[in-house]
Symmetry: C2
Subunit: 351 residues, 2 copies
Amino acid sequence: MNLKELSSILGLSQTTVSRALNGYPEVSEETRRRVKAAARDNNYRPNPRAMGLATGRTRTIGHVIPVSTQHEIVNPIFADFIAGAGEVYARNDYDMLLSVVADVDEERIYRQLASRGSVDGVIVHGPRENDPRVALLQEVGLPFVVHGRAGAGDGAYSWVDVNNRHAFERATNFLIDLGHDRIALINGVETMDFARRRREGFLKAMKGRGLHPDASLMRSEEMTEFYGYRVAREMLMAPAPPTAFLISSMITAIGVRRAVEDLGMKLGREVSVVIHDDELSYLRNGEDIPIFSATRSSVRSAGQLCADMLLDIIRQPGQPPRQRLLEAELTVGLSTAPAPKIETARRAERR
Amino acid sequence: MNLKELSSILGLSQTTVSRALNGYPEVSEETRRRVKAAARDNNYRPNPRAMGLATGRTRTIGHVIPVSTQHEIVNPIFADFIAGAGEVYARNDYDMLLSVVADVDEERIYRQLASRGSVDGVIVHGPRENDPRVALLQEVGLPFVVHGRAGAGDGAYSWVDVNNRHAFERATNFLIDLGHDRIALINGVETMDFARRRREGFLKAMKGRGLHPDASLMRSEEMTEFYGYRVAREMLMAPAPPTAFLISSMITAIGVRRAVEDLGMKLGREVSVVIHDDELSYLRNGEDIPIFSATRSSVRSAGQLCADMLLDIIRQPGQPPRQRLLEAELTVGLSTAPAPKIETARRAERR
DNA sequence: GTGAAAGCGCTAACAT
DNA sequence: ATGTTAGCGCTTTCAC
């Protein structure tokens, strides 16, 4: 069922039917009612490609997932983020286009998305310091929201982030409260913004409590399981082993646990594995309340929020995104720059 | 830069330029060369929506990720699968459309994808027994490949699966070899095909070795961390606790480990956590070779294979997909039914 | 308030 | 081997 058929059934022109369906004000109430009813009854679905061709808009958001060329990890955290964002898209009748791409190809992909007009906007994942993608996207005029912070000036772009520094500061303080003073930080690659912030939180807490962080207990690598296993083993076998671990990834934590077991040490009291907030709550609340999913749900919220903000930006070209309430442990930054406009766009006054 | 502009630069008709670019045979060698050069120099990118409108094909594959309405888990395994599939799409210049959808809405989404023509085909995730989606997709004529088996007749559709039964049989046998006879099976929901197969593998090994599986040591639920924690704790505190666990999910295994720690028991020798093949190799090979990623990479291979098969099916309407070599622990089934044809399709003879 | 017609960028019959 | 023309299904301008 296409517009032509539908309009001939109704004895109206395609124009009128289109206008009625799209909420243009110049259609009579009566006609609009009839048209909407007929559309529903005939199970009419506008062809998104035809719409896209005509409007320049696609109702599609791109997510570019960079896969490192050196390691084959795909951060499982993406799954939660994507799920959150996907929910929002579904609710708003947007599609999600996922590009899994070798990190070296990222620029090409972004340019391609922009020049092909495959998407109305993109979410940027895993920002690095002074991430070139920000400038790139601004250059090609593709609206975007960054998941994490890319470390350019405030207000230069919009972002949503988990409050990494604060979470790690809290976790560190908590371990110190438990009596630990040799705390190992097993972190992700610190060119990644989130890893840098986690480190800062850790150091802030240590110094705030008069403790000297031991450089040999601070590592920064791609967060694989084996990385956790290897460095934990190394540290635990050294003359002055850590009494607690602060770990940046669930996967890496598994490796650490293995190392601890391997050495015949006891997990729990002797060595606490803390993966930011979630595990922290685990320790705090005892055995009955598993809050491990807390972080996963934060990430999911982050996905929702990112998507929501991006849709906002896209739908209100020329206006900064609106402020909003935050759930979970999230922080946001709103771009003060107006969003790029799509030339062809001429928003109808929604009724 | 669009076709019109490009052709006017070249002083040729749009038709000729289109034909040259798309490899139609009736273009002169010389012209083709010129056209291709000009396209490259002018950085010409065909508009995929316009192409889609004209051909009915979209060069887009849909992945529908069902999210349970009752639990908010998103299987992290999806991330690896998606990464594998995404790679193949990128290589073949296809797009991936991801729909995260409440399981109750799944049928609607599939129908929508079909009727809107948003995608050329779909990958079906998480099949259940006699999954209605198979019939649905056949009804609406959308080409598909199932990740896992949906338990209809052989040859009715194409699928790719990890060899679940075999993996669990091996793991169970291995535990028995180690001297265990009270082995707990902490499985996923057994209406899911993969969970049923894993159970079968477990039972086969147990019976094959003359052991009686204890019903109180076999559980089947949505694979969350807390589920692992809860049932492991229960089992370990019962009069006759298990001496080993066979667990269907990495996440659930984390819960089990916690339970073990909580009870002050020692992991490793006393209780072995086995998550199909990967952990099995871990145990077998000792501490230096972490093969934990084995399963993750199987899943990734499965993603690649699914995508590859689907593209095959789409590109050769009317022909069964070709046989292929398998890597990793995968099994495939090939549909004997011809793939549905897209009416508008008229494949050019690729030169 | 409604309709006719042009056009979005491309492909594919049908000429030549 | 190349061009002409008619769509694909929708939006939007312009006229009534």
